[in-house]
């Protein structure tokens, strides 16, 4: 597992055809490739990643691309990805609700969150 989420971007159709009900984290990007939203499928999520991603897609109208990572450490990974985004871009993804976070200063430059 790399520090940043480095899975390939998929269209919403591709992702829904592929993703299953595991626990994990996911990101949405807009047409321009900017990450606009992140969330996770945890131990109480109905339908796991598949359920969470399909539900969130209906709420995030400008999301055109999706990537996800399967992990049981979904809470620590989710916060890590948010902190990395903050370190790389100076703030949370556009559609992310405010959240109490720590600070990360990863070694190396920006390569997309």
């Amino acid at each position: 597992m790399g520090l940043r989420l480095d899975k390939p971007w998929l269209s919403s159709e591709q992702v829904l055809a592929k993703v299953r009900g595991q626990m994990g984290v996911y990101q949405f990007a807009n047409e321009a490739g900017e990450v606009v939203y992140m969330s996770y499928a945890g131990g109480r999520s109905l339908g796991g990643l598949r359920g969470e991603i399909s539900r969130s897609l209906t709420e995030q109208s400008d999301a055109t691309q999706v990537r996800y990572e399967i992990t049981t450490s979904y809470l620590s990974r989710y916060k890590e990805l948010l902190m990395l985004h903050q370190a790389d871009y100076g703030g949370l993804p556009t559609h992310h609700p405010s959240i109490r976070l720590g600070r990360l200063s990863p070694a190396g430059g920006t390569n997309g969150s």
Binding site: R44, S105, P106
Partner: protein, 388 residues
């Protein structure tokens, strides 16, 4: 020796037990099974309740505004506070407040003004930075982080691994080598501000504990004023050791609380669950698991209370604290494991707390000094000079 609770102990233990049952456990029905934080609204409401109960800031010495409760009683309360899903690493989700880093009570007055009092008011947070990639069991030899004097400052270079809470901290205690020829007498404890240039939290270290994570730190020419030395130059290891010894008692208490809760759930379940035409409770193999659990819990509890009692009386308690940590963490693991077995598939599902306890309890045999190191501490105390 009187092993009965005093009426006062009975009263406050009962209050905390009801608080856990009526306030904490119901909230967990709606939280993520790995959560370690409450929503602000719930947290503030419950903090107001613990203040009303007169139990907020339990571990704060009375001269700093804490509620003057003896260590044996606080240990028994720690056993109660951990009896819920998040109880091992987030007992009651912090609603009883904390004393922060205990070493700061030994700080100079200006250091207390800057770090201790804001921590007690809940305005600042600190981390404890001892372990390094080179090893945590024997930090006196393993510490490679170096601090070099430069005028009125020290310049720190190196790194720390496994440090809990550093990403959210305003300051931390960082142990660095200040004299490379002196082994354990060449380590100094610095109070480091996390907003200084050269302080980096490089990554989260993902472990079995998903919410209350650890981090990896790097220091690159991090400047710290000479005034920020905690205690004396080259005497930092004594500070670390003292903290580790004291911490072993509440650490053990948390494991005992979880074991008690797991056993309580099993005792309720096995008379109801039937296989092959009879309740599980009628099977000898199940009864023996419950018996072994009860013995494990009692042994851990008495050894831990004895350690607390010795510490309370100002006697040496290094051996007893190591025993408590060793016995309670290992027994806690066995109890949770047996309870999972009795619950079958439900035991490993996220619907119930056992799977979280099982993961987090496993860390307890390593964190704050692995079992082998506790045995080493006990052996040294038993053999004394003959071992050296």
């Amino acid at each position: 020796m009187d092993l009965n609770l005093t009426p006062e102990q009975d009263l406050i233990i009962g209050m905390v037990r009801r608080f856990v049952r009526d306030e904490i456990v119901p909230l967990e029905q709606n939280l993520d099974p790995d959560a370690d934080e409450l929503e602000d609204e719930d947290r503030l409401r419950l903090v107001a309740k613990t203040k009303e109960m007169g139990l907020y800031g339990l571990d704060i010495p009375p001269e700093y505004g804490g509620p003057d409760i003896d260590l044996v009683t606080r240990t028994l309360l720690a056993v109660e506070m951990s009896q819920h899903r998040a109880g091992l690493y987030a007992p009651c989700y912090g609603t009883f407040g904390g004393a922060g880093l205990a070493q700061l009570f030994e700080a100079t007055e200006p250091q207390k003004e800057k770090y201790l009092y804001p921590t007690l008011r809940g305005e600042k947070r600190g981390f404890f930075g001892l372990s390094e990639p080179s090893g945590g069991s024997d930090p006196a030899r393993a510490i490679q982080t170096k601090a070099v004097r430069d005028g009125d400052d020290w310049v720190i270079n190196g790194g720390k691994l496994w440090i809990s809470g550093a990403d959210k901290a305003d300051f931390g205690l960082v142990f660095a080598r200040t004299d490379s020829d002196q082994g354990r007498n060449g380590v100094t404890c610095f109070i480091v501000d996390t907003d200084q240039p050269g302080f980096h939290v490089r990554r989260i270290v993902h472990t079995l504990r998903s919410a209350h994570y650890a981090t990896e730190l790097q220091f690159e020419d991090l400047r710290v004023s000479n005034d920020n030395i905690l205690g004396q130059l080259n005497k930092g290891f004594a500070i670390a050791n003292d903290r580790l010894t004291r911490q072993r008692i509440p650490y053990a208490a948390g494991c005992i609380g979880v074991a008690i809760k797991a056993q309580e759930m099993a005792l309720e379940y096995v008379p109801q669950r039937e296989t092959f035409g009879a309740p599980l409770s009628t099977r000898q193999s199940i009864q023996w698991m419950l018996v072994d659990n009860d013995i494990d819990i009692r042994q851990s509890l008495w050894i831990t209370v004895e350690a607390a009692s010795k510490a309370q009386q100002g006697e040496s308690f290094r051996k007893e604290a190591a025993m408590a940590k060793l016995v309670a963490t290992e027994a806690g693991g066995r109890v949770v494991d047996r309870c999972m077995q009795m619950f079958g598939g439900l035991g490993v599902a996220k619907d119930l707390p056992f799977e979280r306890w099982y993961r987090e309890m496993r860390i307890r045999r390593i964190g704050e000094g692995p079992s082998e190191v506790q045995r080493h501490v006990i052996a040294r105390e038993l053999l004394g000079a003959s071992l050296r």
